[in-house]
Symmetry: C2
Subunit: 235 residues, 2 copies
DNA sequence: GTCATCCATACTGCATACAGTATGGAGCGA
DNA sequence: TCGCTCCATACTGTATGCAGTATGGATGAC
């Protein structure tokens, strides 16, 4: 312990470490784990649109009781992955082309706004963070890593932009919209990745240069391209 | 029964009435009723920000078991009315000025977009519907009816615009955002109402005239005015 | 007096139990 | 053969039970 330590803070563990420095692996609640598990099953096609998700069967599949399953299904309903029919239970949502268009439209609105804000607010630290994610994502897409990983990196880039934009309400809404968009795109994300990261590069540069309008417009076009690809593949 | 009836459809009740013509008062699920009840208690200040919402006490208050209460609280958490702390349960959310700004910002984005779409899509039927709501709302605000009613009519107008704009994803997101904004504004909605309906009038005219840009901009300003009022009153 | 520790309390999170209802097919009549 | 009725089945919606844990005050050490 140095002299400054004893002056700045009380002695002991609390003086050297701060809250969260040593994260325990306290696992998330069962309902959250169930939510993630079922969402993955849906996103990666293990559960087909229209399929009936009986609470009991999912509970048995995951080795838990109906209760956390029930709560997870209600959460997934809000996020647009399942539909709850009164008295019938949960069914995997059947996305329509129109709905996909709408999701991308709203996402484009919110993200291009966030991107404008990001271009205004970004500092050196933010630029560095974006560069790191870009480097990793660009490399992963060129190596052709598995779709799950590519999807994750794609989300990381978009989320970082939104976080720098610093509108938490928007961030929360986009979290859901991105997961839905990811579902619609899941099967084609691998093909999309290369050109996608080229666009990410341009967005990053505009944000770093504080070019508000350019950043917003590039993000708008970027998301439009995703949507166009969706329509082109007829999904 | 006329001749055409027997040709167009089978005889009997099914031939004369169609699905939904005779709505039974099958009440919503308990969790939905609980959600509405607790949300009202929060919005109208009966439950103060920061207050701990113990499942048992709410269950007792409403005469139901903990189960539907629990599910209602999780739903309210998604909507931003309560915070769930792991292992502690639900607490009435404590909105910050920043958060209120963000909600209004996002709402302005989505609603002005919806309003542009509405100006594109609106037909005579839609204009009539807006006129009806406007007439009722304008009258109610001049008579100075109770805040609950004014809030409801305000929402009806905005929802009608969004429905005519016909982006269901946006509609769903705005439903939550409007309820949150309504909470922030609850105490001052009565004062706001008169000028608010004057602005609604202008928006309606722009939509009816299919003036896309004007409609979008008016809605943007309209929501900015709400937000400004919020900041002016220091809430 | 101050600080760490211990413990009673209250409440959550999950599991289980029970009652009510939507559904599809068997059975029956026309 | 066609259509209606009735019923067995399965599953949801709600209630209750139980184990684990966060918390704040009491207690004791320094």
């Amino acid at each position: 312990m140095t002299a400054s330590d004893s002056l700045d803070a009380p002695a002991g563990i609390a003086g050297q470490l701060s809250r969260g420095d040593v994260p325990l692996m306290r696992r998330a609640s069962l309902r959250e784990q169930v939510r993630q598990a079922v969402e993955e099953l849906i996103v990666f096609g293990k559960l087909a649109p229209g399929e009936h998700l009986a609470e009991e069967s999912i509970a048995e599949l995951l080795g838990v009781s109906r209760q956390p399953v029930r709560e997870a299904l209600q959460s997934l309903s809000v996020a647009g992955f399942v539909d709850l029919r009164a008295g019938r239970g949960a069914f995997v949502h059947e996305p329509t082309a129109r709905e996909a268009r709408e999701v991308f439209h709203v996402r484009a609105l919110l993200e291009s706004d966030s991107c404008r804000l990001a271009a205004q607010n970004v500092d050196d630290d933010g630029v560095r963070r974006l560069e790191d994610i870009y480097a990793e994502g660009h490399a992963a897409s060129q190596r052709g890593e598995d779709p799950r990983r590519l999807l994750e990196l794609n989300r990381a880039f978009h989320r970082a932009i939104t976080e720098i934009g610093a509108n938490r309400v928007s961030l929360a809404l986009l979290a859901d919209l991105e997961r839905r968009a990811g579902w619609y795109l899941a099967t084609i994300i691998a093909n999309r990745a290369p050109s996608s990261w080229a666009e990410h590069r341009a967005i990053l540069d505009a944000v770093a240069a504080h070019d508000t309008d350019l950043a917003g417009n590039l993000m708008l076009n970027h998301i439009d391209h995703s949507r166009d690809l969706l329509e082109f593949t007829g999904q």
